[in-house]
């Protein structure tokens, strides 16, 4: 075939894995592969959770994007202006135009604190923080060091958010951190969520809510934050109820990357890219694919999802170029470690149809599921090594793939 142009927007988890998988798959004379990102900083995002507690440093979790890409992948450090679906072109901020045969959208999400009244106003990074950005996580670390008791409120404004369990993990780790520092006795930790439970999955809500009770974390549900007073220390909901805080840790609203909104037909009202949940082909046009946080597929926005999707997506890009039928191979598989403090963690594993179940992962000899254990905490810490050395290069890890494993799980529903 004539040499094809593959353009990948975003050099994060999904984009890097896709580029490396496709680079291995195609010879240099078969395909040219371009990756575009606005900066050269690849953040290991799970690490951000640990930064506020001094358990990880930014320089340990940020590496150059270029260095994670295989030889033969062209990296453009440039903002994206827009995509023309009609002309199969990407326009960069400096005016350069990249033509593509296949486009892969993997630009993740953008934090939008400005969408909530007052949130990004006075008090931001003084009394109101988010650990969802490297700068925010670092500012919060300094604030927690000085924190001497009072009301610590953790709030997620609304779904969807990246790693839905992260704010809860933050509350668990804050409990541990403040106990070690002897200020827990004069601190109230309050978890405020718009959902009807601390967990987004019904089985987790049923099985795991005791964790909050044990850690003396007050739970406020069905709270839809509409306004923040960062000086007076008030979180106000749309129906007028209020939660006072001395320190607010917020997860701001998420939307798709800004250029998506400037690209007619590519995204939805929130800037997410409507995408087939099994083939990962975008609705916009057959030669557009999307993965990771940037899509609207109904599963968690998490690195594990991007990882499992990348395998299916790379296969489908190859099939598309070869004019073959696409593989409807992604089943919504996601898994996540949930840090619970005191060097323990839980692991959950699920897909579109099957809720998290107890048992072991990926098989009977594996890590315990839905139970607190030290080995899961070690797993979460060791995972960073795997991320840089196995996941990003796009190597297959035996036993851990796109299809959710059922060996080792208890109480599996009977197929009908």
């Amino acid at each position: 075939m004539a040499r094809k142009q593959i353009v990948i927007l975003g050099g994060g988890t999904g984009g890097t894995m896709t580029a490396n998988r496709l680079r291995r798959r195609f010879d240099a004379d078969e395909a040219e592969i371009h990756v575009v990102d606005r900066d050269d900083k690849h953040v290991y995002q799970p690490g951000l959770l640990f930064v506020p507690f001094g358990m990880a440093r930014l320089d340990e979790i940020v590496r150059p994007r270029r260095r994670q890409l295989r030889d033969g992948v062209v990296f453009h450090e440039q903002e994206i202006d827009s995509v023309s679906i009609e002309r199969d072109e990407v326009v960069l901020a400096d005016g350069a135009v990249l033509y593509y045969d296949v486009l892969v959208v993997s630009t993740g999400v953008r934090l939008q604190p400005e969408e909530t009244d007052g949130l990004a106003g006075p008090g931001w990074n003084e009394r109101v923080f988010t650990f969802y950005s490297p700068e925010g996580a670092e500012a919060l670390r300094r604030a927690l060091e000085r924190f001497d008791g009072g009301r610590l409120v953790v709030n997620l404004v609304d779904m969807p958010i990246k790693c839905p369990v992260a704010p809860l993990e933050f509350a668990f780790l804050a409990d541990w951190y403040l106990r070690e520092r002897d200020v827990r006795g004069r601190t109230e930790i309050v978890y405020v969520t718009p959902l009807d439970s601390a967990f987004t999955k019904p089985t987790c809500a049923r099985e795991l809510t005791w964790l909050l009770t044990e850690k003396e974390i007050e739970l406020v549900t069905d709270f839809n934050a509409g306004e923040v007073d960062g000086v007076g220390g008030k979180l106000v909901s749309y129906d007028g109820s209020e939660v006072d805080f001395d320190l607010l840790v917020t997860v701001p609203l998420h939307g798709g990357a800004a250029y998506v909104e400037r690209s007619p037909g590519l995204g939805d009202a929130l800037g997410f890219v409507p995408t087939d949940k099994q083939t990962l082909q975008a609705v916009a046009k057959p030669n557009v694919f999307a993965l990771g946080d940037a899509t609207d597929v109904p599963t968690s926005k998490a690195g594990s999802v991007a990882h499992f999707e990348a395998e299916v997506l790379a296969e489908n890009v190859a099939r598309y170029l070869d004019e073959q039928e696409l593989d409807a191979g992604y089943d919504g598989h996601a898994n996540c470690f949930i840090e619970t403090g005191f060097r323990k963690a839980l692991l959950i594993d699920f897909n579109y149809d099957i809720e998290p179940l107890p048992g072991r992962f990926p098989a009977w000899f594996g890590l315990p599921l839905m139970r607190e254990s030290h080995v899961n905490h070690m797993g979460k810490l060791l995972f960073q090594w795997m991320y840089w050395n196995a996941l990003l290069p796009g190597r297959d890890i035996p036993g851990i793939g796109p299809a959710m494993p059922t060996r080792g799980k208890k109480n599996l529903p009977v197929a009908n």
Binding site: D158, M159, P160, P164, L195, T200, K201, D222, N224, G226, Y238, D239, L253, D268, A269, L270, P298, T299, S300
Partner: protein, 105 residues
């Protein structure tokens, strides 16, 4: 799931009171569901939101979240909460005869 009769129409409801078959819906059912859920009268603004929710669901198979409602229905989020106290998306879905929005993943 229970079968019940609302405004002379047979209607299937799930445990939380959401209709499981959107074709059983009509305007009288909507009015009855609204009054049972704390909205004595559906104004034009209510209907705008309820119809938007319903049409979007029938078109795409999923109900819009509060945020997309605020951006696309023409009714700002603040007003949505005044019209449908507590949970606009959930309540408008219930009144519009469509399943509970699944936005929570």
């Amino acid at each position: 799931m229970t079968m019940t009769v609302i405004a002379d129409s047979p209607v299937d409801l799930d445990a939380e009171g959401f209709m499981t078959d959107s074709s059983q819906w009509n305007e009288q059912v909507a009015e009855k569901l609204a009054s049972e859920n704390g909205i004595p009268e559906l104004t034009d603004r209510h209907w705008l939101v309820v119809r938007f929710m319903r049409e979007r669901y029938l078109e795409t198979g999923t109900a819009p979240s509060i945020r997309s409602l605020g951006k696309e229905s023409g009714v700002p989020v603040k007003e949505l909460y005044q019209l449908f106290p507590k949970g606009p998306a959930k309540l408008a879905a219930k009144i519009g005869g469509i399943p509970k929005p699944r936005g929570c993943i």
